[in-house]
């Protein structure tokens, strides 16, 4: 137990340090982009946050498969925690996106492939969380949510391919047209690592919390009996 606590502390310290480093590189080290100006700096948050959202849904997918095959509460807790973090980060993607789009493209929203896919994903995983809530008992919720976690993730490439063909404009490529300069790439990498660590930290905490919740429920049930 103590070792786990130590590991958690270390992870927290490391995440904090890297987040500070990320802020410093984004605002002090990275150069201001020539065409779009200072707003381009939101890119260093927007992209890592989007990456974490996809990573989170992938982990939910893996957790769901493992739960259905092994039936260990731990895998369900992992899948659920990861989906919660995924919805949170997709929300951040959907907020940072329009903030960036408005000054650069003059519009809040466009039905571009990436934007639309993020929106559809967000809706699928909100449904995932709702199934869990509406299932009644936790065991059933875990099982039904796992099915949604699997079907939802398999849908992701299909949604992306379809939306991509539906609307073939890719405004985001403007950013990459000139390529990223060395210092921009370094900044992006620092941010990616920082946000991935934040994800691991959040999922560890949330998984632990869910495991404790189940434990308390079991103890309560035993006392009643």
């Amino acid at each position: 137990m103590n070792r786990k606590k130590l590991r958690d502390r270390l992870l927290l310290a490391l995440t904090f340090a890297l987040m500070m480093a990320a802020l410093a590189t984004v605002f002090l080290y990275a150069p201001t982009e020539k065409h779009t100006g200072v707003i381009q700096r939101i890119f260093y948050f927007h992209v890592p946050v989007a990456w974490v959202a996809f990573l989170a849904y992938f982990i939910t997918f893996i957790g769901s498969i493992l739960y259905l095959s092994k039936r260990k509460a731990r895998w369900d807790a992992l899948a659920a925690a990861s989906a919660e973090v995924g919805v949170l980060f997709t929300t951040l993607v959907l907020i940072t996106g329009p903030i960036w789009a408005r000054p650069v493209w003059g519009i809040w929203w466009t039905w571009d492939a990436r934007l639309t896919t993020s929106l559809v994903l967000w809706l699928i995983y909100i449904a995932y969380l709702l199934v869990r809530r509406f299932a009644g008992e936790p065991g059933r919720g875990a099982r039904l949510a796992a099915v949604v976690g699997i079907a939802g993730f398999i849908d992701v490439p299909l949604v992306f391919i379809t939306v991509n063909l539906w609307r073939t404009q890719h405004p985001t490529t403007i950013i990459f047209e000139g390529g990223l300069t060395g210092s921009m790439l370094v900044t992006l990498l620092v941010c990616l690592v920082a946000f991935t660590l934040l994800y691991i930290l959040l999922v560890r905490q949330a998984t632990g919390l869910k495991m404790l919740e189940t434990e308390i429920k079991n103890i309560k049930r035993m006392r009643e009996e």
């Binding site: 299932a135 699997i150 079907a151 299909l158 949604v159």
Partner: protein, 219 residues
């Protein structure tokens, strides 16, 4: 295997044929969607809005019909009876799938000509029939899985559309996009990609549904 699927399918079919209540109610609902849409967009709608209206009516009507397929099984503990059958869970999935597929196909067969007539479009379109079969199969593959899932939750009436609609987004987009060139009498080339997407979706979700259905109805 096939005989067992047929037995479950036949049971659903017979029940619907004897009462006809769900099919009539859903037909009226889908017709209403068409009417409401023509009020909402005005009478001189552009050609690009018409395919969308058809597919909104078919997907909304479909989701209501899907909700009923498992809701009736919940009454009188008939789902338990079905579970007691000495058959593989996948057989139940395919039986219910065949039922939902037929149901939505009937819906489309009635609604589509009405839609084409109401919006003054050519009525005989064999290529549209192909799109409808592929899209409805996609709806039924995902819908059967999620209807069985939603029926086990509280708030099941709202749970099914919330689950079903985002996941079938590729089917809706592909069907709308394939319908537009058919209505415009464009060559096959313009809808080939969309048909491929529909086929890919159908195959993927028929496999996924067959594999995970047992987890949805266990207990």
């Amino acid at each position: 295997m096939l005989a067992r699927v047929w037995a479950i399918y036949r049971k659903d079919l017979l029940q619907e044929l004897r009462t006809k209540e769900t099919v009539v109610a859903v037909l009226v609902f889908a017709l209403l969607v068409l009417v409401i849409f023509s009020f909402a967009v005005g009478d001189n709608i552009a050609a690009d809005a018409a395919p969308g209206i058809l597919w909104v009516a078919l997907s909304f009507g479909g989701v209501i019909g899907l909700n009923r397929t498992f809701a009736v099984e919940k009454e009188n503990a008939r789902l338990e009876g079905l579970m007691l059958c000495p058959v593989d869970r996948a057989v139940i999935y395919w039986g219910k799938l065949a039922g939902s597929f037929t149901f939505m196909l009937v819906l489309a067969v009635v609604i589509t000509p009405v839609f084409l007539a109401l919006f003054n479009l050519p009525v005989f379109l064999p290529r549209l029939a192909l799109i409808i079969v592929l899209a409805v199969l996609g709806f039924a593959s995902v819908g059967t899985l999620f209807a069985a899932l939603a029926v086990n939750t509280r708030a099941r009436d709202i749970m099914l559309p919330i689950l079903f609609l985002p996941v079938v987004a590729p089917v809706i987009i592909a069907a709308v996009k394939a319908t537009a060139p058919v209505l415009a009498a464009a060559p096959w080339g313009e809808l080939a990609t969309w048909l491929e997407i529909l086929i890919a979706f159908d195959v993927i979700f028929l496999v996924v549904g067959t594999l995970v259905f047992e987890f949805v109805i266990e207990e």
